[in-house]
């Protein structure tokens, strides 16, 4: 994945130099940061062999809460953020119970949760969030040392997650349970708790993404989270995390988010028609996913095995 990013930036510099100009990169990084947060959340769920399709509702709900509740009043921003976090925890617990405890199919259960989250979105906003407070615009949308602030939030989330996942006993248990739930249960690990917890942590990351997106766009819609469903899953797969569960790769997930965001910028800069942009993005996803999910060795063996001479 790292090589792919380097190749993409080199191609960008050669074919569309404007896409790696300072302005373009500063414009791309906030969206890469948001996608990274969403991807890290999805990664945790996928590590448990699940999948979370409630990203659109979760991101949109966070946006609506932090824009509608303050209604332009900076002093209400902190309570609004706390409310958004609380709702995210509740949504995560709901997903966790449905999938981890009741063993419902993750795709169906999280789609149902997504519908409920959008019901709350419409209940709070009537479909129209208001302008983001100036405080959140400056916190999420501003620059520090010339770098978009959202990058620092994404890196912070990455560091916390990496430390918890890779450097703690709880994290290693989490990965072990994802790799083989049956064996994990046999050794006495609490499988259901960890599977459920994955959905809660994921919701907190989606909530962070939503809050950042509200600040970055300043005038978001109530359905702003819709565009993150497919990319959120794609970055996880591009990063090499198996959809069957097991180890997660936080750094590769972040790099994949950077790759997809720069790809968007590159395709825009080349100036091809909208339809071609969509095809290029789909092709990149197909190639990336194919690299990790197709058994190339077996395929090669089948195609090129020596032909057995027919008996005379």
């Amino acid at each position: 994945m790292g090589i792919a990013v380097v190749v993409l930036f080199v191609l960008s510099a050669i074919l569309a130099p404007s896409s790696v100009s300072q302005g373009a990169v500063l414009g791309m990084l906030p969206f890469a940061s948001i996608l990274a947060c969403v991807g890290l959340g999805q990664m945790l769920v996928v590590q448990q062999g699940g999948i979370d399709l409630s990203i659109p509702g979760a991101v949109s709900l966070a946006i609506v809460v932090v824009s509608k509740v303050p209604n332009g009043d900076n002093s209400v921003l902190l309570p609004a953020i706390l409310l958004a976090v609380l709702l995210a925890v509740l949504a995560g617990v709901l997903n966790g119970i449905l999938v981890g405890w009741l063993k419902l199919n993750a795709i169906i259960a999280t789609l149902g949760t997504n519908a409920l989250l959008f019901a709350v979105v419409i209940g709070i906003s009537g479909g129209s969030p208001t302008t983001t407070t100036r405080l959140l615009q400056s916190i999420a949308g501003g620059l520090t040392f010339g770098i978009p602030n959202s990058v620092f939030f994404a890196v912070g989330a990455f560091l916390i997650l990496t430390i918890l996942l890779k450097k703690t006993v709880a994290g290693r248990r989490f990965e072990a349970i994802g790799a083989n739930p049956v064996a994990a249960r046999a050794t006495g690990l609490r499988v259901r708790v960890h599977q459920s917890a994955a959905y809660v942590w994921a919701q907190l990351l989606y909530c962070l993404a939503g809050i950042l997106l509200a600040g970055i766009t300043a005038q978001p819609t109530a359905f702003q989270g819709n565009t993150y469903l497919i990319p959120g899953v794609a970055v996880v797969v591009l990063a090499g995390t198996s959809l069957l569960g097991g180890r997660g790769y936080p750094l590769a997930t972040i790099v994949a988010a950077l790759f997809l965001s720069q790809l968007d910028q590159f395709v825009l800069a080349v100036g091809v028609p909208y339809a071609v942009r969509s095809i290029v993005q789909a092709a990149a996803l197909a190639v990336g996913v194919g690299m990790y999910t197709i058994n190339w060795a077996a395929l090669r063996a089948r195609l090129f095995r020596p032909r057995v001479k027919a008996p005379a």
């Binding site: 896409s19 791309m28 005038q219 819609t221 800069a269």
Partner: protein, 360 residues
């Protein structure tokens, strides 16, 4: 359900007197209602207002404007509202449901365009006064519905083009942002602009006929970031959804350039953004056309007049007027109510305070 609607339609037809399109007084004008506008006739009616998608600020304010206009006529003794929630099938079912309930007049925002035409025709033929507005569903006045109240968007484009020509007489590089790829609103607007600034000195840069943004603020921001990086000179931005730009325009500042001139539709958040930024951005002149919430008022007047026997409005066209011009100050300088929400529209007849109350 279809059978029930069919029976109801037959029943309604049987109750009608004369031609299907006449209802109550028809084109005859009865005695005016004391204290009411002349489009309010004496016959008592129920009116239904229907949205294809009611879930954003613009629609809320437009719907409230419709209800406000209805309230001016005491002959409208019943009022119903339905929101299609962006679902074409629900929008169609909403129309059928209203007809089944026995409303006398329908005012419809046919978001799905021509897909709505059969349902409109069915209501019209059942004897219900049927008035689509703003989005043209195709079909013909008097055949498929009573009248379509609106205008194609070439007028907006022409207004924008006139302003560009006045302020950039020697030509300009113009970036045009609109909604989904292929949407007819964007195409009409471009056609309108080209009637005024069609010569070679006015260059439209970026994807043609317009840069698609899906009217999504995040996509708008990404498209604009890329356009800024690619084009050293952008003199004018044209956008048919101005408020979506407020998160994107600072990309110019981040790139070390002045925000360029902007022609678009109005929104309080945009007026306030202009006031906050014009001092530091010498090229940032702005002109807006009214975003057009009050189109619904004209549609309501027409429907009520037709159904109650009032005087029909003298036009079925609703052209959104120019609203703000930061250069000439005519008809208005840029307006901003920073004590009120950004998503109200100061060009609407409804007072800013009443609009703000709707969005709480």
């Amino acid at each position: 359900m279809a059978a029930v609607v069919g029976v109801a339609a037959i029943a309604l037809t049987a109750c009608s007197s004369g031609a299907p399109s006449s209802n109550g007084g028809g084109s005859e004008t009865g005695a005016p209602v004391a204290g009411a506008p002349d489009w309010c006739g004496p016959n008592e009616i129920t009116l239904g207002l229907l949205d294809g998608f009611g879930g954003n600020s613009w629609r809320k304010i437009t719907t409230a404007a419709g209800a406000d206009e209805v309230a001016k006529c005491p002959s409208v003794t019943g009022y119903e509202y339905a929101d299609g929630q962006g679902d074409t099938q629900k929008s169609i079912a909403d129309i059928q449901g209203m007809v089944a309930k026995g409303v006398n007049a329908l005012v419809v925002f046919p978001d799905a365009g021509e897909a709505m035409l059969p349902a409109l025709r069915s209501a019209f033929q059942a004897g219900v006064v049927t008035v689509p507005y703003r989005v043209n569903p195709g079909g013909k006045d008097g055949v498929d519905y009573d009248a379509w109240i609106g205008a194609d968007f070439t007028t907006d484009g022409k207004n924008w083009g006139d302003w560009i020509k006045t302020n950039f007489p020697d030509g300009a590089n113009i970036l045009f942002l609109s909604g989904p790829k292929g949407n007819s609103q964007g195409e009409d607007e471009l056609a309108g602009m080209k009637t005024v600034i069609g010569d070679d000195s006015y260059k439209f840069i970026g994807e043609q006929p317009f840069e698609p943004t899906n009217w999504d603020p995040a996509v708008t921001q990404q498209v604009l970031t890329s356009a800024i990086a690619k084009n050293p000179q952008i003199d004018v931005i044209v956008s048919d959804f101005g408020p979506s730009l407020v998160g994107a325009l600072p990309e110019f500042t981040k790139s070390g350039r002045s925000i360029p001139a902007l022609v678009t539709s109005d929104g309080n958040v945009l007026g306030c953004f202009w006031k906050d930024n014009e001092a530091a951005n010498p090229d940032f002149k702005m002109m807006t056309v009214a975003t057009g919430n009050d189109n619904v008022r004209l549609a309501v007047q027409y429907a009520v007049a037709k159904a109650t026997g009032g005087t029909l409005p003298d036009t079925t066209t609703f052209d959104a007027p120019v609203f703000e011009d930061s250069v000439s100050g005519t008809p208005n300088p840029v307006e901003c109510r920073d004590d009120l929400p950004g998503d109200i529209f100061l060009s609407a007849e409804m007072s800013p305070e009443d609009q703000a109350a709707l969005l709480k």
